[in-house]
């Protein structure tokens, strides 16, 4: 049977469809989204005191004061979406790694295969963030719910990118999960308004979810639109995906031309 020309769109749409199918089979991730996410946000609201907490909001260049439980809702939501999307992407990239190599070696164009997976990641980030925003809105009214959702998406993209990068480069599943969780603990822990209310150390701005946290807090308590801060998450995402792409390319290189006589 001779190969027939296949359009770039067919390659892309098939890859995206199958990537979504893969995510839909990840029951643990779905359970985490459905139950862990609202549990984390709800506990944060109920358990943490509503006393005013100060937070250095660099996005608007001011120190704001806000109820502690509302602020912790925002950091909790960000923590939950980043961990879940990071886990989803790591899990799917790690499990299907060798299968994807085989597909690429069979002739599946790598750019469309990767683009399909990234579309699935974007959709997972958007849905998870929308759900988290809706849960936050059950307890109080952020000033800009849409912006809160968008900020969470940028954080989710960052950790989704980390998940893809670690899934494509690490050999141990446990190592990948631990790295995602430990990065998240350092990242959100140092920025947490409860653990570190003023957070005025310059180092904070180099944390992966810094842009997302600043944008999310702005969404909660101010009316401005911190555009540059929304770009930081996608930048981290881009860096991580480039590393993953290089690893994928190295693993799926056809070595024959190099030594064919």
């Amino acid at each position: 049977m001779r190969p027939t020309p296949t359009s770039a769109w067919t390659y892309f749409s098939t890859a995206a469809r199958y990537a979504l199918l893969e995510h839909s089979r990840n029951r643990l991730a779905l359970v985490l989204v459905l139950f862990y996410l609202p549990l984390w946000i709800s506990l944060g609201h109920v358990v943490i005191t509503s006393a005013e907490v100060r937070f250095l909001l660099r996005a608007t260049d001011e120190t704001i004061t806000a109820p502690g439980n509302n602020l912790s809702n925002i950091s909790g939501a960000l923590n939950a979406v980043t961990l879940i999307v990071g886990f989803m992407m790591f899990s799917v990239t790690f499990t299907a790694g060798r299968f994807d190599h085989r597909l690429a070696m069979a002739g599946y164009p790598r750019p469309q295969l990767i683009a399909g997976k990234l579309v699935a990641l974007l959709l997972a980030a958007v849905l998870t963030s929308a759900y988290a925003t809706a849960v936050v809105c059950l307890y109080w009214h952020p000033r800009q719910p849409w912006l809160l959702g968008l900020a969470l998406v940028t954080g989710a993209l960052t950790y989704g990118g980390f998940g893809v990068m670690l899934g494509a480069t690490l050999r141990g599943e446990l190592a990948g999960m631990l790295l995602i969780i430990m990065t998240s603990i350092i990242d959100t822990g140092l920025q947490s308004p409860i653990a570190n209310p003023v957070a005025d150390n310059d180092f904070i701005r180099y944390l992966p979810s810094y842009g997302a946290m600043q944008a999310a807090v702005t969404a909660g308590f101010r009316d401005s639109f911190p555009f540059p801060y929304l770009l930081l998450g996608p930048l981290w995402f881009l860096g991580a995906v480039v590393v993953a792409g290089i690893a994928f390319h190295r693993h799926t290189r056809d070595r024959r031309p190099a030594f064919f006589g």
């Binding site: 027939t4 199958y18 199918l21 089979r25 990840n26 070696m105 069979a106």
Partner: protein, 208 residues
């Protein structure tokens, strides 16, 4: 030896992992329509050789000449647990750029697992997974097939069907190179080599 055209030429292929020299000058020629076997003990370098021929691994030196399209069936099953058998076929149909799945379905019938088309991988036995592993390497009907322990986990009936299929491929002018550690049933091969101390030794039984 027949006059059929050469499909695969291997000359002086070497490969070492650190100080462990696995292949020490492998030479081989394979013609169209031949069923060839490479036997050898565990760890003798059979899979390394096949991975080099399939372009998965780069040799330290040597030359390999072969067709652009090949079918490579790795020793371990490389499948995706999230998908059904049919979904695997569809994804590889797109990868190979095939217009339809007629050939793949024919292979499912030949290997006797067409009833499992809607089953997910986790619900399949090891032998059935291996059948799918094999079908994914054959469904685009390439001129050269590189099969690493292709009947691993097969029951007797599946094993017989594999040889039936290998016979059909040979009739159709395809070349098959099978790597196996099982040294019985070697009379089924047209060409047989033994991988010994990093070199291929033409198996004497064929000439007897």
């Amino acid at each position: 030896m027949s006059d059929a055209r050469l499909v695969l030429e291997v000359h002086d292929v070497h490969k070492a992992y650190g100080r462990h020299r696995v292949l020490r000058g492998v030479d081989m020629e394979l013609r169209a329509g031949r069923l060839a076997g490479v036997v050898g003990e565990n760890g003798s370098g059979k899979s390394t050789l096949l991975r080099i021929l399939a372009g998965r691994l780069r040799p330290d030196r040597g030359v390999v000449k072969g067709p652009g399209r090949i079918g490579y069936c790795p020793q371990e099953t490389v499948l995706n647990p999230a998908f059904t058998v049919e979904q695997h076929l569809e994804l590889f149909r797109v990868a190979y750029g095939l217009p339809g799945l007629d050939r793949a379905h024919e292979l499912l019938e030949t290997l006797h697992f067409a009833d499992y088309r809607r089953h997910r991988i986790g619900a399949l036995s090891g032998g059935t997974q291996q059948k799918l592993n094999l079908v994914l390497a054959l469904m685009h009907d390439p001129p050269l097939l590189l099969l690493d322990e292709p009947y691993q986990g097969f029951d007797w009936e599946a094993y017989q069907r594999f040889w039936e299929l290998a016979g059909q491929l040979r009739e159709a002018g395809r070349s098959c190179l099978v790597v196996t550690h099982i040294a019985y049933d070697t009379s089924r091969f047209d060409d047989l080599w033994r991988l010994d101390a990093g070199r291929l030794v033409d198996d004497a039984r064929r000439d007897g």
